[in-house]
């Protein structure tokens, strides 16, 4: 029976330290001093000694942060990401328990950092905790933009006629469009032939395109207070490129609604793992079940940004269906066979990325580029583009855009 924990959390958080099963963690990898601090935080948590528990939880998170930043991310033992989640869990509960000093938004942010950098423990407890915290926050707090002191910032895209200047697509190089092919037809005519194609009328049943249409207001409502990673800078191949963490509200305010000189792009983020409510609004295309891979291994990424975001020409190792939910994108595609005409970077980190700026190529430096055949299209809302594995693709958003990509093997 918990004495210390706030009662709203008792449905989600275990009742005692034992139920955390910290003894299953690999002490030989974590080290005795670290494990000691982790255990101290847990003990004080269940005693309701939140201030002390928070101190130790902060030690845990700071120590983990250093481990996560040592060596290559992929080589870091998963135990460090797991204890980062535990640290985030304890810290969030303490912040919620100390609501005279912290507000619920702080606790939500702590959970989000744990979701972003940690690895799931206790049956993905942070996701369940953040849902409870969000409900608690909605009950009592105003939506953040109503507290905003700068009244000029509108909460939705200003109404204006759609005067998009759409790129002229060469009819000889158009990506073909097909209306909802059968699984067999898609497999034989497109996957096996490594042929890009735009599939139409396959998103009509998505709630995001239907009865819960995605808009800036809707996204703010569902996920406004959630912290997400945002890419800053024109493109990831440039030196000024960086990543920052901010709430969805902050991202929309600063990079979508305002005419920011800087580009911000919520790109390649598994948003739907972090925010299960949004996952309910999309559907995994049946075509993703074709191929060798497991259904559970399908990776779903969100791509949400203003007009003008650019993904430089690059290729990915898996099959890709890029579904356009809101807004339009211009894409250009080059087959793997013409790779030497797109001048990939050397070095193993960037060799899946071309050195050429597709819409402004330096033909002196890259003379063969103009001779390479390509396909192009403007991808419209409700359409999804199939990009075969290792097929070069370049993307530029023509308007405020939200795409969802599905990667499978």
């Amino acid at each position: 029976m918990t004495t210390g924990l706030p009662k709203e959390l008792q449905g989600v958080v275990p009742g005692c330290k034992k139920a955390l099963h910290l003894e299953t963690l690999d002490k030989s990898k974590l080290g005795a001093p670290f494990f000691f601090v982790l255990a101290q935080s847990a003990e004080r948590l269940f005693q309701g000694r939140f201030q002390e528990s928070l101190g130790f939880a902060t030690n845990v998170l700071d120590f983990c942060w250093e481990k996560l930043n040592t060596g290559h991310w992929k080589d870091v033992d998963i135990c460090w990401r797991e204890v980062f989640t535990f640290g985030s869990l304890f810290k969030a509960i303490c912040q919620y328990g100390m609501r005279d000093r912290f507000n619920t938004m702080d606790a939500i942010k702590t959970c989000d950092l744990g979701l972003l950098m940690g690895a799931p423990v206790l049956d993905n407890i942070l996701t369940r905790l953040v849902a409870v915290l969000q409900n608690s926050a909605r009950g009592t707090t105003k939506r953040p933009q109503e507290q905003c002191s700068t009244p000029a910032v509108a909460s939705q895209v200003p109404k204006r006629p759609r005067t998009l200047i759409l790129p002229v697509i060469d009819s000889e190089r158009k990506v073909p469009r097909v209306h909802c092919p059968s699984l067999k037809s898609f497999l034989l005519n497109y996957m096996r032939k490594r042929q890009p194609v735009i599939i139409q009328s396959n998103m009509e049943h998505w709630p995001a395109r239907n009865h819960r249409p995605w808009s800036l207001d809707y996204l703010r409502q569902i996920a406004g207070c959630r912290t997400v990673p945002v890419e800053l800078g024109r493109r990831y191949t440039e030196e000024t490129w960086s990543q920052a963490l901010m709430t969805v509200d902050e991202f929309i305010d600063k990079y979508i609604v305002q005419k920011s000189a800087d580009v911000g792009y919520l790109a390649q983020h598994q948003l739907f793992d972090q925010i299960p409510e949004l996952r309910e609004d999309i559907r995994v295309p049946d075509y993703c079940c074709l191929g060798d891979g497991d259904e559970d291994d399908i990776v779903i990424n969100a791509w949400f940004g203003p007009k003008g975001t650019v993904s430089p020409l690059h290729h990915d190792p898996q099959h890709n269906l890029l579904a356009q939910v809101v807004g339009s994108k211009y894409l250009r595609l080059y087959a793997e066979e013409v790779s030497d005409c797109v001048y990939p970077h050397e070095g193993h980190l960037l060799n899946n990325t071309s050195q050429v700026d597709v819409e402004n190529p330096d033909l002196q430096q890259f003379p063969r580029f103009n001779s390479a055949p390509y396909l192009e299209c403007t991808l419209e809302p409700g359409e999804m583009l199939y990009i075969p594995p290792r097929y070069w693709h370049y993307v530029r958003s023509l308007d405020v855009s939200f795409s969802v990509s599905f990667w499978w093997s």
Partner: protein, 370 residues
């Protein structure tokens, strides 16, 4: 005669076993819990890990504090054969004796647990440690790797620098060597620019830092992911990660007010952070892959530098202490927990004469003239 002050992380009682504070934002005196006649002995050196500290009073008395014998807030004091260098590894305490042997000792008793042989019988002079590497320096100027912390490999592996080395130090994933001729070599992971070769590429073997050629360096130090050196002329050179301002370079492009910068600096000379507050668009530096000079307030000259995980401390020839970088655990000693991206004089020691400084990962030990 000297007095030791401590500030920063104290979660294990490694600064003050008698205090339960998680960290100390103001410098406090180190108090041996068993006061005796040599309470005023000059501290020869301090070596600190994340969870413990070893204070060498004179060369034969060791006081260890912190997480010892699987318990927190411990304190031990014992005598040992004279020590000239020491470091904490994942396994325990490694010391180099005056006689040149490198041994592992029990941090509670000083009992010898293991020993490394010098290559060709050479004597060791120094031992340092990174996340998973232990390096030792011999009296012949050779660098050797004592193997990783997981196993006491009794035979050290040579690390080829090609010149006589007089000092080595390690960050979490990189190593630095200072040669007798004043050149700096670096090797290891370089993803934060900590090797100083102008890229973020790793380097498996020691390479000289080209950008420093022509300048004679007299001392080096390494933090978690950053590197620092001081030239014969007294200039401070920094390179590596600046995410918390540990290089003394700006961390944010847009400064909006005093709360963004260092609020505790009373040094009068204009600093980089002052310029930024006036609305200038000073370029932020996250990764500095090539060494650059950082100006010090009031143009002081440095005699010693020491780095923690994400902060830096420097001792001036006039006996002042400067700190900068990450401050969340009070490791800047200024009573605050904000980061500071400009070298700032620590107020507490302004009326005192500081004679030595050693950094643990999240704290600082300062020796002061009585």
């Amino acid at each position: 005669m000297g007095k030791l002050y401590v500030f920063g992380y104290n979660g294990f009682g490694q600064l003050r076993p008698d205090r339960s504070d998680n960290f100390l934002v103001h410098p406090v005196e180190l108090e041996a819990t068993e006061p005796d006649g040599d309470g005023d002995a000059l501290v020869a050196m301090v070596t600190a890990s994340w969870s413990s500290a070893a204070i060498f009073a004179g060369k034969t008395v060791i006081m260890t504090q912190g997480f010892l014998n699987a318990e927190s807030h411990q304190f031990r004091k014992f005598e040992t054969a004279a020590v000239r260098s020491s470091v904490w590894t994942a396994d325990g305490l490694v010391v180099v004796r005056e006689g040149g042997e490198c041994v592992q000792v029990d941090p509670c008793t000083g009992q010898q647990l293991g020993r490394w042989n010098g290559p060709d019988g050479a004597k060791f002079t120094d031992v340092v440690c990174g996340e998973s590497t232990i390096l030792a320096l011999t009296d012949t100027g050779d660098v050797t790797m004592l193997g990783d912390v997981q196993s006491i490999n009794p035979t050290p592996l040579p690390v080829h620098v090609g010149e006589n080395v007089k000092a080595v130090c390690c960050g979490k994933e990189h190593s630095l060597a200072l040669t007798v001729s004043g050149r700096v070599f670096s090797w290891g992971n370089g993803s934060r620019g900590q090797l100083g070769h102008g890229t973020t590429e790793a380097c498996n073997t020691p390479q000289v830092i080209e950008a420093l050629e022509g300048v004679t360096m007299v001392t080096i130090a390494a933090g978690g992911w950053h590197s620092v050196s001081v030239s014969a002329c007294g200039d401070l050179y920094v390179w590596g990660w600046n995410e918390a301002g540990q290089l003394g370079l700006p961390t944010s492009k847009h400064k909006t007010g005093p709360s963004d910068g260092c609020t505790t600096c009373t040094d009068k000379e204009p600093s980089v952070s002052d310029m930024a507050q006036q609305g200038d668009n000073v370029a932020e530096v996250l990764v500095q892959a090539t060494p650059t000079i950082v100006d010090l307030p009031t143009g002081q000259e440095l005699s010693k530098i020491s780095c923690g995980s994400r902060h830096t401390a420097a001792l001036t020839k006039e006996g002042q202490l400067l700190t900068w970088g990450w401050g969340a655990y009070g490791q800047l000693g200024n009573g605050q927990t904000e980061r500071c991206e400009v070298p700032c004089t620590v107020e507490f020691f302004k009326q005192r004469r500081v004679t030595d400084v050693w950094c643990g990962p999240w704290n600082v030990f300062v020796q002061v003239d009585k």
